[in-house]
Symmetry: C2
Subunit: 676 residues, 2 copies
Amino acid sequence: MAFYHRRTCPRTMSNLATVFFLLACIYSSQTQSTEQSPVQACETDHPEKVAEEEVSIQHQLDNLNLLLFLSLLVLTILTIWLFKAHRFRFIHETGLAMIYGSIVGAIVWYTADTNGPEHDPITTDAQECDISKATSSIYLSLEYPSNKSVTFQYNRLGIIKGGAYTVPSAFVEKVNFDPEVFFNMLLPPIIFYAGYSLKRRHFFRNLGSILTYAMVGTAISCFVVGGIMYSLVVLVMKRTDFNLKDSLFFGALISATDPVTVLAVFHDLQVDVDMYILVFGESVLNDAVAIVLSRSVESYDSDSFEAGPILKSLGIFIGVFVGSFAIGSVMGCITAIVTKFTRIRDFPLLETAIFFIMSYMCYLMAEAAQLTGIVAVLFCGIMQAHYTYNNLSEESKKRTKEVAELAQFLAESFIFSYMGISMFNPRNQYWDAGFIFSAFFAILVGRFLNIYPLSFLLNLGRKQKIPWNIQHMLMFSGLRGAIAFALAIRNTATVARQLSLTATLIIVLITVVICGGMTTQMLTWLKIRVGVSDEDTAQQQGMQVVGSQNTEIDVRIRKRYDQAWLVRQWYDLDHKFFKPIFTRKGADLKETLPLCCYPVARCLTVMDEHVNEDSDSDLILDENSSSADQLSGVNLEIAQPTNHTEDDIVLDADLGLGSNQITTPGLNLKPIPAVV
Amino acid sequence: MAFYHRRTCPRTMSNLATVFFLLACIYSSQTQSTEQSPVQACETDHPEKVAEEEVSIQHQLDNLNLLLFLSLLVLTILTIWLFKAHRFRFIHETGLAMIYGSIVGAIVWYTADTNGPEHDPITTDAQECDISKATSSIYLSLEYPSNKSVTFQYNRLGIIKGGAYTVPSAFVEKVNFDPEVFFNMLLPPIIFYAGYSLKRRHFFRNLGSILTYAMVGTAISCFVVGGIMYSLVVLVMKRTDFNLKDSLFFGALISATDPVTVLAVFHDLQVDVDMYILVFGESVLNDAVAIVLSRSVESYDSDSFEAGPILKSLGIFIGVFVGSFAIGSVMGCITAIVTKFTRIRDFPLLETAIFFIMSYMCYLMAEAAQLTGIVAVLFCGIMQAHYTYNNLSEESKKRTKEVAELAQFLAESFIFSYMGISMFNPRNQYWDAGFIFSAFFAILVGRFLNIYPLSFLLNLGRKQKIPWNIQHMLMFSGLRGAIAFALAIRNTATVARQLSLTATLIIVLITVVICGGMTTQMLTWLKIRVGVSDEDTAQQQGMQVVGSQNTEIDVRIRKRYDQAWLVRQWYDLDHKFFKPIFTRKGADLKETLPLCCYPVARCLTVMDEHVNEDSDSDLILDENSSSADQLSGVNLEIAQPTNHTEDDIVLDADLGLGSNQITTPGLNLKPIPAVV
């Protein structure tokens, strides 16, 4: 792996040059193609021909547009490989994609012929309620001298900025592709993979802290940012096109953190898994919270603080969050049930296909039900990893993981390239240096008031304190990324929204490039230990503790930690009921369910009797758990998590992020060896 | 694998019921959502709100549409699993997807409220050349009493059938999704996988026959079908809206065969690989030919036979085919070079990503250059399998294969579902029983005149005759599928095109369901041996020959077969130059290239010296080949293909379709054991 040849560089560089040449070709060819079309259209008397030409021109423009993005991706991937091979960690693929994107974007926007022919808008006086004239489709009928008539259908794209009727060249038009593509195609794989690759054991152990940062912290951040923006932009800078609701909306969208670059460095340098999960878990859940918050703010009906609308928005927040959670979880469970009770695992291709289709369906269902699909798909991913994964065939286990990882990688690179390209898109942006500086100030304060006070409160309750250096690292990990951008670009109808989008783009670029680049440096400054391999962990496990504050952590404290009420309850429920219902593992339902449910229990466990070929590990697990069940309270509580340990470690390692767990100063949350 | 529980059926069925229930929910919810929108739009004075509402409604409709398709896919997959588990081979997933699709389609089209409000088209008199008024975007400006003005942008969708201004409900509108999606998103994975999973050894051995059927045969089929359609529809039925060009276009598009159901049965029943490759290879290449033919016909400028336009079309045919082939091959080779000369294989995720992006780019580049991307992507797939595959890391080898297979499966199921749903779409169809019957008659005659005369001619040249039963099977394998549909739906502006689309849909449905269902029966009737496993083959290899006509095939004949000029030349070139240039395998370039190219040769083989960790098999191969090189003519020719045998068998087995090779009556094309 570490074997690298310096001499390959020039060749790679020549590849890069090829790609650039290609880009130039694309660009020149598009200019030609758009110029041809009106001439050809004019020379014919056959309207069908025009339609055919139109179809082929549109198709060609779509292709050129995609080709541009893909060339960018190839360029990014090759450069990233070069950096990785050189152990050059100062820039991550997302940052690079964005930088390349913005270079290409600048070329496209500033060289493109935006001073095209001016078209008079078809103007209608809207006397009463004539907004209804702007139907979603309109039809333009042209009559020919030859008594032929041809009708074109036009679909409404959206509202454009008042007054700007200069038509940009067709290619430039196309680069503005529909923001719904983000939501429907690009975000779901990213978020699903986040859920699917979550190290659940560590996640559930730190559930309390993660939930606090993600729920309370994001709300704090949203209101702090909103408040500061309102004070600075509306009260100080006296903008009239930006109101309280816009401020809060900006606060909500910019509170979605996306520390993908930081996490990549954490992964490469093998930092402590619990610190990893704090950063990762917070960012994953806070995306969900930020999305739902922005929805609630959007539906806030008033321009001042009033109890009614506030309560309504709160209701929407809770309703949307719970509803999306429910849809995601239920779809995850349905997939688990389908894969448990059918023998579709004999056909891994069908199994994988159904796994992804059902995961994607949960996104669509949540959106169709006016909830948020991203939140649903996140929890669906977690459920799929926790239950369905156990039912899959060996081949599907690998395949689902690999496909999800690839999809995530491609979608993420694509989004960041797109962000780069839209950086200089004049269409839906509104630059205001004051606004951007205010936004930077606001997010810094917002993040500060999120991390430090909450860490203080958490440390009051936690036996394992979150030390200062981890708190600083959490503060530092507040990068912004894909979700913030997706929320901002979704609607750019008003100036306020355009201001927000522009500020978001700049914030994403700066945080991704600067924070991403400085992560390694930061880990050194904060004296966070890195690079401890699995073997070290195994040796240290339960004995050696490296740390400053807690140089000796006795078994009791750790026992206490493992017994945190929420976690304990969850493990208990999960092991006794959910696991055996949705998978072929876990406790025996016939024993855990009350007697009256015996028929149901028998029905649900019926497959276990037949499917013995692959249940070696299950049997071992069952032995463990049944012996654990016979023990009294305390032992049970210790045994339970440990019971899952082996199982989950394997799962975590399988699920992509490596099983690197090390002991950092003062944060030793290692599993205790089984006492039973 | 063979272990199956009957008791799981009821549960699966209840799952299916759930899916159906879901469909009902979708359907009812969509009706509500579309009814709400106009009311809400009218009540507000804020145009931005309308835009926001519009965005969310459009988004919801997109989701519902996708959800409908995905539910269909889940239903199809579960049913197919049920059938597979029951060894019920009478229907393939594609046929089933189409049937389910047509049921749902019938419900959607016949229950949907198509008698929506009539909208007056915005009519303009086109005095002179006013087709230019139908610009690709138009702007509708509404002025408000409050002196606000709001401008909506509308993008041109296309021409609609003259006179039909009833606006269908928004959901129904959406189900008609852009046919370009087929070309850009769904076809490339299917065709790429066909190329990537091609059993190249068998393919190259039967190259002559495959090329004859695919090139000459498809052209025959196109002109025969075109001629018959012209005679019947124009001359006999006297339709004035269908001309010679339309007939030939229909002939070209309907000549693309897609025997996916037959091949699935072949695979399940393990028929002879050479028969498999004849059917598969013909269908893959004839798609390419049919696409290019239809392009040439479209560009035919005249309404009668004239030398000029015919030559021009011929030129276009050759130019487009060769151009697309070149782009595909070159991109394949570039990918091979990139993966050979960079150490990107250390990062399998990046490697897989770049592999797929570059393959997809070749599609886009060909389309952007006005060539056909499908043809390019096919040859790119073959190149990727032949060269790039050897350079990939072990992980990427598996992953690329699996991802391509999954994408192919999903795309194919989706297309067939979509075909089912469009079966009853009144929008772009035109039913004419006479036309449909003529089309069936024409394709039967066209296939007949393709297979039998060409087989006769081929048998004159072949030592290994193609026996009657295989010829009948080839005749029977002329199913129509995705490509024919995609070509037909691409443009439905005229009545002739709508007639063609309708006929194509019916032909696809009937051939897929009937021929697909009867394949097993047909194999029995034609006495084609099935179910011979690899071990049998190994035992039989080179000795036992089961057959009627050629009961004893001596080594000389087989040697002669292996030495077919084209194949021999290709193997020689490939082994001496292409393999060593594009991969780390094959002969030593420093020996095969002329002395003047020594520096180039050294440069191209430079990686071999360093990368020894994974070249065990290469060394063996190199030994073989260098000894083979030292031998004189005949021995070399025998040794060459054999040399590749082991390598390729492994590849073929890896690449998805299993390595089942058996000896069928009279068609023994087995490799001979190495003589060296």
